[in-house]
C-alpha cells in the first residue's frame, strides 16, 4: 500500500451477530483504496456475504446487527444505516447474490428502475447496452425469462446506473459456467477502467478472483486469515492447496483435510 493512496472504505474490527446469538464474523479489518479491485475469497459460511451486507446496511432485514467495530466510508461511520440511504449518500452499490432482477419487468424497464437523471440516464443506458450487447437483443424480454448470465449482466447494469463509487459484487460466478464468469469479470474490469470506480469482489472461485484482483484477502470462519497481493497469495502454499487445488501430484480435495490443521498452521 502506497502512502499517498486515498482510503475509500475502511473496516475496523467488525463483528456481526445474527439473531443475537450466533457470531458470523469477528474482528474483520481491511482497507480498500480508491480505484482498487479488492477481492475476498473463502469457502462457504466464511462470512464473506455477511461482510458485504454489513457494509451495505442489509443486516436489519436478516435480524443481524453490528455488535462491535465500524464501517467507515471516507472517514464517515456507516454502521446500521438503512440500505437505500447508504446507496444515496455514499454510492456504495451492491450486486446481491440472488434475487437481483425484477421478474415481471422487461430488461429495459429493469434498467429504468434505478434513480434516473433524464438525459444522462439515457446515455448511460446506451452505454450499458454497449457493454452487454446480449441485453440489447433481449430488451423486451421479461426479467424472469432471462438466463443466469443475462440476469447477472442486468444486475450489474442496474448497479452501474446508480453511478457507483464502490461496486460490491457478491458471488459473480454463482451458477455460471467458467467461460461466462471470465467474460463478465473482463467486462467489469473494462467498465472499471472506463468509469474509474472501486470494486469489492466476493468470490468462491479463487482462481478467477485472484487473476484480476489488485489486492485480496482470504476469509475463513469469520476472520480474515491471509491478505496480500494476488501474487503473494497465489504463491502461498495453503492457498494453492485449498483454494486453487494445486499441489503437485497428490491433489487433496477441500473436504479431505480437517479444518483444524489449517487453523493451527495459521494461528500457531
Amino acid at each position: 500500500m502506497k502512502e499517498n493512496d486515498k482510503v475509500l472504505l475502511e473496516i475496523n474490527k467488525l463483528e456481526v451477530v445474527y439473531h443475537h446469538v450466533s457470531t458470523a464474523i469477528q474482528g474483520v479489518s481491511f482497507k480498500v483504496l480508491e480505484g482498487m479491485l479488492f477481492s475476498i475469497i473463502g469457502g462457504n459460511g466464511a462470512g464473506k456475504t455477511t461482510t458485504l451486507r454489513a457494509i451495505s446496511g442489509f443486516l436489519g432485514s436478516d435480524n443481524a446487527e453490528i455488535t462491535d467495530g465500524e464501517v467507515k466510508f471516507e472517514g464517515k461511520v456507516l454502521n446500521m444505516f438503512p440500505p437505500q440511504k447508504i446507496t444515496h449518500l455514499t454510492r456504495i452499490v451492491l450486486v446481491p447474490e440472488r434475487d437481483k432482477v425484477f421478474d415481471t419487468l422487461t430488461v429495459e424497464e429493469n434498467l429504468s428502475v434505478p434513480a434516473s437523471q433524464g438525459m444522462r440516464h439515457k446515455q448511460f443506458k446506451e452505454r450499458i447496452y454497449e457493454y452487454f450487447p446480449n441485453l440489447r437483443q433481449r430488451k423486451k424480454v421479461l426479467g424472469g425469462f432471462l438466463s443466469g448470465g443475462e440476469r447477472q449482466m442486468l444486475a450489474i447494469g442496474q448497479a452501474l446506473l446508480c453511478s457507483p463509487r464502490l461496486l460490491m459484487v457478491d458471488e459473480l460466478s454463482l451458477g455460471l459456467s467458467p467461460l461466462i464468469t471470465k467474460e463478465l469479470l473482463d467486462i467489469i474490469l473494462q467498465i472499471k477502467k472506463d468509469l474509474g470506480f472501486t470494486v469489492l469482489l466476493v468470490e468462491q472461485n479463487a482462481a478467477a478472483a485472484l487473476a484480476i484482483a489488485e489486492y485480496a484477502a482470504v476469509m475463513e470462519n469469520g476472520r480474515i486469515v491471509l491478505d496480500g497481493t494476488p501474487e503473494k497469495l497465489m504463491a502461498h502454499e495453503d492457498v494453492r492447496e485449498f483454494y486453487l487445488g494445486m499441489r503437485g501430484e497428490e491433489q487433496k480435495s477441500y473436504r479431505d483435510v480437517k479444518q483444524y490443521t489449517r487453523t493451527r498452521r495459521w494461528w500457531g
Binding site: S56, P83, T87, P96, D99, T104, Q137, A159
Partner: protein, 343 residues
C-alpha cells in the same frame, strides 16, 4: 396502450365502433341495465384503486370498505351541512381518503403480508364505527340523504347523464393509473413487489413508495365511495361492511391481479353476478324458499367463483383475454418463433 389502439386498421375500426357504441348505448339501453352499467363504472374505480395496491405494489389492505365509507361520509357531511358543490366535494373526498390511507399505510414500514392486512382491517373498523356513530347521533336514521349534484346548469338526476359522468371519471382514473404504472413510481412498486432487497440495493426508498401506494389507492377508493353516495343519493354506514371489501377483492382476483383491464372485467363480472342470479331465479320461477335464502346463495356462488378462478386461472379474466388475443394473432401458429441471440 393508447397508441397501440391505432396500430392497425382493424384496431382503429374496433376503437371507433366501440366509441360509437359507448355513446349510443345509454339512449337505447333499458334504464335498469343502464343502472347496472353505472354501478360497474363506480366499482371499476374502486377495483382499479385496490388493484393498484395489491396487484402492483403487492401490499395487502383489508380496509377498502372503510376508505369508501370515508369518501361517502365526506360527501354526506359536506353536501348536507355545508351545501358544497360536487367539484369541491370530490377532491375533498380524495384528500380525506388519502389521509386515512396515510394512517393505514404507516404500519407498512414495519409490517408485511397478513399482518399489514390486519392493521388495515383495524382502520376499516375505526372508520366504520365513526361513520355509524355520526349517523346515529346526527339523527339520520337509516342513512344520510344526499341531494343530486349539479355540474354547471346540468343537474345529475337522469341515468343517462350519470352514465357519461361516471364513465368519463372511470376512464380518467384508468388513464391516470396506466400512465403512473409506466412511470418511475409504477416501476418502483413492481420492483418492491418482486424483490424488495434488490430494489433497496439500487436506492429505492421502499417505505416511502409503499406509503405513496396507500395514499393513492385509498384516495381513489374514497372517490369511488363519494361517487357511490352521490349516485345512490344516500350514505349509510351499513353499506360499507367488510363484505364490500371482500367483493372488491373478488373483482381484483377474478379480473386479474395487477392489470388495469382486469379491474374493469372483474368489476363487470362481480357487479353483474347478483343481478344475473336474480334474473335467473325469476326466469325459472323457483319456489319462494329459494328466494328467501337468496343472499346466502349469492355469497356462496361468490365464493365458488373466486375459488374457481384461483384454481383454474389465477391471473384472472385479463389473462384469458390476453391468451385469446395471442391465439388469434399467431394463428395458424401456436408459439412465437424462438428469437436467436448471438453471444
Amino acid at each position: 396502450m393508447a397508441i397501440k389502439a391505432f396500430e392497425t386498421p382493424f384496431r382503429k375500426k374496433c376503437l371507433i365502433a366501440g366509441v360509437i357504441f359507448g355513446v349510443a348505448f345509454p339512449f337505447i339501453a333499458p334504464p335498469f341495465i343502464l343502472h347496472v352499467i353505472n354501478l360497474i363504472a363506480i366499482a371499476s374505480i374502486g377495483a382499479l384503486a385496490l388493484n393498484l395496491l395489491i396487484g402492483n405494489a403487492g401490499l395487502l389492505s383489508l380496509g377498502h370498505a372503510g376508505f369508501m365509507a370515508a369518501g361517502a361520509f365526506t360527501t354526506a357531511i359536506m353536501t348536507v351541512n355545508f351545501g358544497m358543490p360536487i367539484w369541491i366535494v370530490l377532491p375533498a373526498a380524495i384528500l380525506i381518503g388519502g389521509l386515512f390511507g396515510f394512517v393505514a399505510g404507516l404500519p407498512s414500514y414495519k409490517l408485511k403480508g397478513i399482518y399489514l392486512g390486519l392493521s388495515t382491517l383495524a382502520v376499516h373498523h375505526i372508520i366504520q364505527y365513526g361513520c355509524s356513530e355520526y349517523q346515529y347521533y346526527g339523527g339520520f336514521g337509516y342513512g344520510i340523504v344526499i341531494k343530486a349534484p349539479s355540474i354547471g346548469h346540468v343537474v345529475l338526476t337522469n341515468k343517462i347523464e350519470w352514465y357519461f359522468f361516471l364513465w368519463i371519471i372511470a376512464a380518467l382514473v384508468a388513464l391516470f393509473i396506466t400512465n403512473l404504472l409506466r412511470s418511475k413510481p409504477g416501476r418502483a412498486w413492481v420492483a418492491i413487489r418482486d424483490r424488495d432487497i434488490a430494489a433497496e440495493v439500487i436506492g429505492i426508498n421502499i417505505g416511502d413508495y409503499k406509503i405513496m401506494a396507500f395514499i393513492l389507492s385509498s384516495g381513489l377508493t374514497s372517490l369511488a365511495g363519494s361517487l357511490y353516495a352521490y349516485y345512490t343519493a344516500v350514505a349509510s354506514a351499513d353499506q360499507y361492511s367488510f363484505s364490500l371489501t371482500i367483493s372488491y377483492f373478488a373483482m381484483v382476483i377474478v379480473g386479474g391481479v395487477g392489470s388495469v383491464l382486469g379491474s374493469f372485467l372483474g368489476a363487470f363480472l362481480i357487479t353483474v353476478l347478483p343481478y344475473g342470479l336474480m334474473y335467473l331465479t325469476g326466469l325459472f320461477e323457483v319456489s319462494f324458499s329459494v328466494k328467501e335464502y337468496f343472499s346466502i346463495i349469492e355469497s356462496a356462488i361468490f365464493g365458488i367463483v373466486i375459488v374457481l378462478f384461483l384454481l383454474a386461472e389465477p391471473m384472472g379474466l385479463a389473462e384469458i383475454w390476453r391468451r385469446t388475443r395471442i391465439y388469434f394473432e399467431l394463428w395458424p401458429f401456436r408459439y412465437k418463433p424462438l428469437t436467436i441471440t448471438k453471444r
